[in-house]
Structures are given as structure tokens and as C-alpha cells.
Assembly symmetry: C2
Homo-oligomer: 198 residues x 2
Amino acid sequence: MRTVDPEKHALKRANIVAAAAAEFAANGVDGTSTAAICRRACIGSGTLFHYFPTKRDIFHAVFSDDFERSAAIYEEAVTAVRAEAGLELLVDHLVVSLADPLAPGLMAAAVLQAYRDEEFGRLLAGDEARLRAALTSLLERMAADGRRLAFGPDRTARWIQRLFDASFLATGDRDYDPSAQATELRKTVDWLTGRQGS
Amino acid sequence: MRTVDPEKHALKRANIVAAAAAEFAANGVDGTSTAAICRRACIGSGTLFHYFPTKRDIFHAVFSDDFERSAAIYEEAVTAVRAEAGLELLVDHLVVSLADPLAPGLMAAAVLQAYRDEEFGRLLAGDEARLRAALTSLLERMAADGRRLAFGPDRTARWIQRLFDASFLATGDRDYDPSAQATELRKTVDWLTGRQGS
DNA sequence: TTATTAATGGAGCGCATGCTCTATTTATGA
DNA sequence: TCATAAATAGAGCATGCGCTCCATTAATAA
């Protein structure tokens, strides 16, 4: 008998997911061939389909792995003692993820895939809903504490999300300036959340 | 002898471009087959390739047709007598284009294509640069007139662009509310441009 | 060691793709 | 009317695709 080593399996799987993410970000779902993923991951097609049943499932894995990590952070943020601290945690998380050079390509690929792949659409909508719920919950507490939000808590939450979506796209620009972007992003969020001195 | 009727030719061409735009928005460049474009445009493949040499050229045409129209509006805006009126013209143009249901899909397809197709990247960057130049020029005049912009004119222009980019993506959302979106968008732009009473 | 099975590479299958080519129809100037 | 070329449809070609299948190797329980 031989049993499967879960640690080795997870490691190899993660390696494939990383290679696939790079390809998907550069070429989209339909523009990426399974052969290209194999080449980048230095494996044969037999190995690839030993770990994943279809190309679509690899794409799903790229995102659901990330969403799992994010969900934990959302959870941590809403349970913060001070609502401001929770919001800062979320903003920090988003600013950090802006540093990922694959972000704009993956985002574009995701938008297109969401139209055609209902299951992926739900996956994506789930992460968005969780983030929005966390933001809304924190903003409601802040509003109750006297903060004057630019819009209602839910709408303000949407705008914060959209601001980051836009920033993800901007990271693809030729002359993208990460530090200026982060500073301005925080200032805009401060305005949206009615912070003093903005 | 028989000559080409430029009007009929342009009409037929526009019909193909419209059909292609719908397909590209739903499935991206690589996910769209030339056969699908033919089906939607109700033509044979012979006709398609009589009007365009390659699929890539059709995609380029979808955007360059639109960019040409936009460029005329940018031109009109910068030559406005009052800078505020020029800015309003630009914002109106952008708000109107938000109503296009193909916008988010086309935008996602464009982001992906820009990575792999240098010529298309230049096309896209050209439109962005023209819009930013128009916005910056107007914002500089407004700043000279005493408006207190949130950031420098060029950076503020970038943020306005990004706000709209993000809104384009949001139009794909299930519960997208166009009027609320437009109102909030204008309020945010007002804040960015230091307008009183925001 | 040995039996068992996970892990792996790669040949190759069936199918869809972008595009070409040819035949036919249609519209126009003379 | 007639000659000419634009416009069109669609069969078909070469290529690349996702994925299967099978042979081989590597690792582990007994």
C-alpha cells in the first residue's frame, strides 16, 4: 500500500496554481493553453490533469485559494474592538494586495469569466459580498459613533470596493506610482468615511 | 466597371463591428470565434474577411471607432469658455457611456488584449492620454481660478478616470443602480475638484 | 523485499479554430 | 444590354486545443 502525503500534494498543487495564475493574468482563460501551464510549472499534461479535472477548475482554484485567505481577514476586521481599527485592517489588506503584479490581468480575466461561468460568478460574488458586509458593518458602527459618511453605509462600502477595483486596474499602467496611489487612496477613503482633516 | 459605394460599405462594416462588439464583450477576444461573429451579423465567413483581414483587426475597429468619437468630445471640452462647463461635458459623456451594457465586458477584454497586443496597447493608451490631457488642462484652469483640488491637477485627473473605470466594471453587477451611481459619481468628482457644498 | 498505488510524462484523439479559396450573385459604368 | 468587379456564401485546410490513455517510475505499508 501507498498513501497520499497531503503536504506534498498541497505543495505541488500550489505550484500549479501559481503557474496557472501567471498565465491566466497574461492571457485570460481562453488565451491560456493547458500546455502553457504545464510548460511554466515544468510538468507534463498527465500530471496537470492528475491534480485538476479541467482547465476551468484550475482557474477556480486560483481565486478560491485567495478568497479563503481574504475571508479570514474580513472576519478578523469585523470583530475588532474599535471600528476604525477594523476598517484600517481591511484597507491595509487591500493596499497590500495592490502590490501583486498579476492583479489587473486576473481581475480582467475574472470579469469575463463571470459572464460565462455561473459557478465562478457565484464564487466572485461571494467574496465581494463578504467584503462589502464587513465594510458595511464597520461603517455602521462608525456612523453610530458620529462619523458623517459621504453616503449611506452600504453605498459607501460599495465605493470603497470600487476605488480598489479601479486601483487594481491602474497597477497595470506604465507610470504607476504605488506610494502616491496608496496615499491618495487612503485620503479618498478618509473623505468617504467622513474622517476629520481630509 | 463597378465602383465601391462608400456609404453602403461603411454601413455593412458598422453592422459587423456591432455584432463583434457584443461577442467580444460576452466572451473576450480568444473566447469569440469568427463563426460566432458571422452568425450574429448574419453573414458568411467570406464576407467577414472581405471587410477585415483578421479577427484582431475587428477588435481594434470596435475600439478605434469609439475613440474617434470620444476624441472629438475631448477637443470640444478643452475649448470650452468656462473650465467648469468643459469638465461637465466630459463627465456627462462618461456618464452616458456608462449606460452601454457592453462596457464592462469590453473593458475587461481590452485590459487583457493590451498585455499581448502592442498595437492595441498603444490605441488604448492613446485614448486614456487624450482624456487625461483634457481633464488636466481643465483642472489647471479651475485651480488657477481658485478651486482647491484634492490632489495636483494631473493626479486628480487620473482619479477621475479611475472612478469611471471602476464604475464601468460595476455596471456588470446584478444590483447595479444607474441613477444612484451617477449621483454619487458626480458628488465624488465634486469633492475631487474642490467644489463647494460637497 | 515485495505488493500496491500514487505520481508522472507524453503520444495522440477528436474537435473547433482562424482563415483561404472558389464559385456564384449582384450592382454599376459605358 | 453587356462587361466588369464588388459582394457574398460556404466548403475545406492546416493548426492548435483540451483532455485521455497508457506505460513507467517512485514511494510507502506490510
